[in-house]
Structures are given as structure tokens and as C-alpha cells.
Symmetry: C2
């Protein structure tokens, strides 16, 4: 059988992946969930037709969303993950013995259950005793929280569908309140290359800048995402992602990583001119 | 009409671009040449079924293959471009008043003529009086040259078909001879993500390292190339791409660029661990 999965990256661009087996296909209250075995990327999670993670390249996304803030503040003790139902961000966080507690707020329990069954590569730390999983909407969860987290990771879908509220100024204001004085917010921030995503990126950045004294973006290569490069936002109450990075301390942890290193950390905040242009006031 | 062009990036991955018009399709002695108008990327040059350049993203490739070596040695006067029939590298080189002469050795005159007719965005400097175009094979051209060029840019197709000889150790040895004492060689170097390209990248790097005292690689985002990230090789007789970079001098030129800046220059030499692993001895 010759089976191919296609995601339309833009109106004029299709990204088509050879499928060996369609393992799972269910509609939850929130979204369509599919899991495939693919020839090029191994197991792959698809939500509402968009590739979320694949076994082959998820390390790029998850290492960069976690180790960048952790290298800036290795004293982070309390972490909130919004979304991240595949478990990849939690897996990377759980490598730090210094982290005391992680709350993961994922709206869709079915995503977590499907990933637990089919993608153990990312869910392997979801039974860590420091983790509490809350199956609820991240927005009210954050609204009722104050001065509690040293790090918030918004590992969401795109700004339409269930993830929409996680790209609003009200939400970012509540994130600010929920963070401690040294708090850092990292979020997936869309991308600069194609108009469809660049507009969201520009808007998201503007909203974050109005709320946080430090608000910048950094890049990561993700071959299965549109244009191959994705942006994360780094916002904080004061810590700067480069000036405050504790490279020696992070390196002394001795973690084996496949993407992240402290040179890539620095490099990921350098932007090409077309992206700078997009983000300037 | 619903017309789509597909390139197989790997055996399990297709990249499919909406075509508004198929403008040109001819077979030269060396290769199949096609030019399309596309919805997402504007005009697009395809050789033997592989996307070479598009109007939308060629600036990333051409700025990075030219301005990186030029910022390391702004005194470059004589340049050899091997391949580069689309004219994009020559266009960027011709912005430097300090460059005295450029030889461009392109094996396939039909590529140049087709690009002149359909892609003026990249061919616009091909009539610069400092440029001599030689329609011949780059290998013998370089073999007979000694101590002549401050910079060689190998802007070739992939290491199969007409570009194959440009990825051999013999060729790199001849490049070394053809370069002046401060000479720099920059070449397209395949990519690290998919096995099909990673093997070429590894081999190319090993060959360059045996010939040049300085041999390293740097990255550029190119959304139409496999995995969205491409690698260039930077090899020299002594100049180091970071320690010898003359950032202030390059910035004082006042060039308007859309991708390159001196921060991106530095950042582009930082590699993720999986790529470092591939390139280590």
C-alpha cells in the first residue's frame, strides 16, 4: 500500500510524508488526533491535520524549549507547562534533579493517553513523582495563580482551535502574575518565513513586549514544521537570555543532548534581518 | 488548472509546490532545466527535478555564500565562482567596489540563458564589466590555475550528475593551489538531517579537512531545501571565519541585506550536537 500524509504548510505548499501505518485516529472533544508510523520520521502525532511531533525531530523542539530557560536560571524549582500533552517538555525538565515540582495543564486527556500508548519516547517521564497533571483549560488555571512558578512553558498548538486563548494579551498578563520575581515564560511563537505564520509571530511578540520587561525570540530547526525553522518566545521579569546565561553551570550538569549546547543557545537568539524587521516596533 | 511540482526530499518525504505556470522546459547536454512561476515562492529554477533557487528565498543562499567570506577578508580582489549559473552569487559579489575581477565558470550555458530571460532578479549583475563568464568545466579550469584567487565559491548542484567532480579531494587540492595565501574556499555542503544528504556532508567535510588548515561549516535557512537548513563549507589557508571576521569594517560598508548580518555570521557557525557528531573525526 502506498499511503501518504499531507499537511498544507501554506496555500501553495504541501509537505507529504510516507506512512507505514495509521495507528490511531480519534476525535476528542477538542480536536482530531492521529498517530502514524512513518518511513522518514518514525512515529508521528498529528492534531487537526498538523504535525505536532515526530520521533525523529522532537528532540530539537523539546531540548530548545526547556534547556534555554534552564541555562539562564539553573535554580528554577517550580515549573508550569501549558499543553505539552506529548510529554516531551516534561521529559527534558525531569532531567534536572533541582526541579521540585512541575504542573502540567493539558486540556485534552485523550492526547496524553494516546501518546502514552504509542509514543513512549516522549511520555517516559509522565509518572515522575514531581509531576502533577491537570486535565483542564490553561487559561483559568493561570488566572487563579500568583507568584508561584519560576518557569512557564507554553507548549501549545497554533493560535487557532484549542490553543487560541494562549496567544492573547490577557493570558500573558496572567502569566506575568503567576511567575516569581525571577520568572521566565517560554512559548512556541510561530515562524517568520510564510505570511500565514509571520503575522501571528509579529502579533504574539508585540503582546509579550507590552507585558514583560524582557521579551525576545529564538530559533530552532524543526524539519517537519513549515519552513524548517520555528521560533520560541523568551520573556521574563528581568533575566536576559544571553547576559544571564550560566553556561559553565549548565555544562557542569553533564547532560547529553542531541541539539542543545551553550553555543547553540547564544546562536539561536541571532535573527536574520527579515525576521528582525518583522519584530521591530 | 491545479498544477503542482513535487521534489522528493527523501524516499519518505515529498515537497510539493503549487505552480501557476510552467515557463520553460529544455534538456541541455548536461541536465533537464525547468522554470516555473509558483504561488508561494515566485519564479523557481529546477535542475534535474531539484529546486535550485526561488525568487522568494534565494537571498538567504546568496547572501550567506558571499558575505560570510567577504566579512572575513574585505580585501578580496579576485574571485572565482564555479557554477552559480543563476547569477545570484555574482550579484552579491558585484556589490563590493573593492572586488576587481570575477571569473564565473559555469558548465551549462543554457542555464545562464534561461535565467537571464526568466529570472532577472538573480542575473542582474551578469553584465558587470568586472565579470568574465567561461562556459566550461570547472575541474580543468581550476587544475591549470595557481595562486590567483582570494576567494573561490563553489555554487554547485548536488554531488551526483554534473556537479559530482566538485566534491572530490583532487578538486579541493587544486582549489588550494589556485588560491592566494589568504585564500578562502566556500562551497555548498549538503545538510545534516536526512541520511541521503548527511553522508555527502560528512565525506565532503573530511576531504576538505585533509587539504585545508582551516575547514569548518556554517548553516543557512533555506525553506525550499531539504529540512529547511543547508550547510556551507568554509575552508582557508589560515583565515578563521570568526576570529578574523572584520565585523566593524563590514558594517561600515552600509549594505542593505535581508538575511546576513554580523550576528548571524557568528551564529551560523554554531552547530547542534547531532551535526557536530557527524563532522567529528
Amino acid at each position: 500500500m502506498d499511503l501518504w500524509f499531507t499537511e498544507n504548510h501554506t496555500k501553495g505548499l504541501k509537505f507529504t510524508i510516507k506512512v507505514d501505518r495509521h495507528l490511531y485516529s480519534e476525535k476528542s472533544y477538542y480536536q482530531q488526533i492521529d498517530i502514524f508510523d512513518t518511513t522518514e520520521f518514525g512515529r508521528m502525532l498529528v492534531l487537526d491535520g498538523c504535525v505536532m511531533i515526530t520521533e525523529k525531530d522532537e528532540f530539537m523542539y523539546h531540548e530548545m524549549i526547556v534547556h534555554v530557560p534552564m541555562a539562564v536560571n539553573p535554580d528554577i524549582k517550580r515549573v508550569l507547562v501549558i499543553g505539552g500533552g506529548d510529554g516531551g517538555a516534561v521529559r527534558e525538565l525531569c532531567r534536572y534533579p533541582s526541579i521540585e515540582h512541575i504542573d502540567m495543564v493539558e486540556i485534552d486527556e485523550m492526547v496524553v493517553n494516546a501518546c502514552r500508548k504509542y509514543i513512549p519516547q516522549t511520555t517516559c517521564a509522565l509518572d515522575d513523582p514531581r509531576l502533577s497533571i491537570h486535565y483542564e483549560d490553561g487559561l483559568p488555571f493561570v488566572r487563579k495563580t500568583e507568584d508561584k512558578y519560576d518557569l512557564m512553558i507554553v507548549d501549545s498548538t497554533d493560535p487557532f482551535g484549542p490553543g487560541e486563548g494562549l496567544f492573547t494579551r490577557e493570558f500573558y498578563g496572567n502569566c506575568y502574575k503567576a511567575l516569581t520575581d525571577n520568572g521566565i515564560l517560554v512559548n512556541q511563537h510561530e515562524s517568520a518565513c510564510y505570511d500565514e505564520y509571520a503575522e501571528s509571530m509579529e502579533l504574539t511578540h508585540k503582546k509579550l513586549k507590552r507585558v514583560f520587561p524582557v521579551a525576545t525570540v529564538y530559533t530552532v530547526q524543526i524539519p517537519t514544521y513549515p519552513s524548517g525553522i520555528w521560533y520560541f518566545g523568551f520573556a521574563s521579569k528581568g533575566l536576559h537570555p544571553l547576559r544571564d546565561m550560566q553556561a559553565d553551570r549548565w555544562n557542569s550538569l553533564g547532560f547529553k543532548t542531541r541539539y542543545y549546547n551553550t553555543d547553540i543557545h547564544r546562536a539561536s537568539f541571532a535573527l536574520p534581518n527579515f525576521a528582525k524587521e518583522l519584530l521591530k516596533d
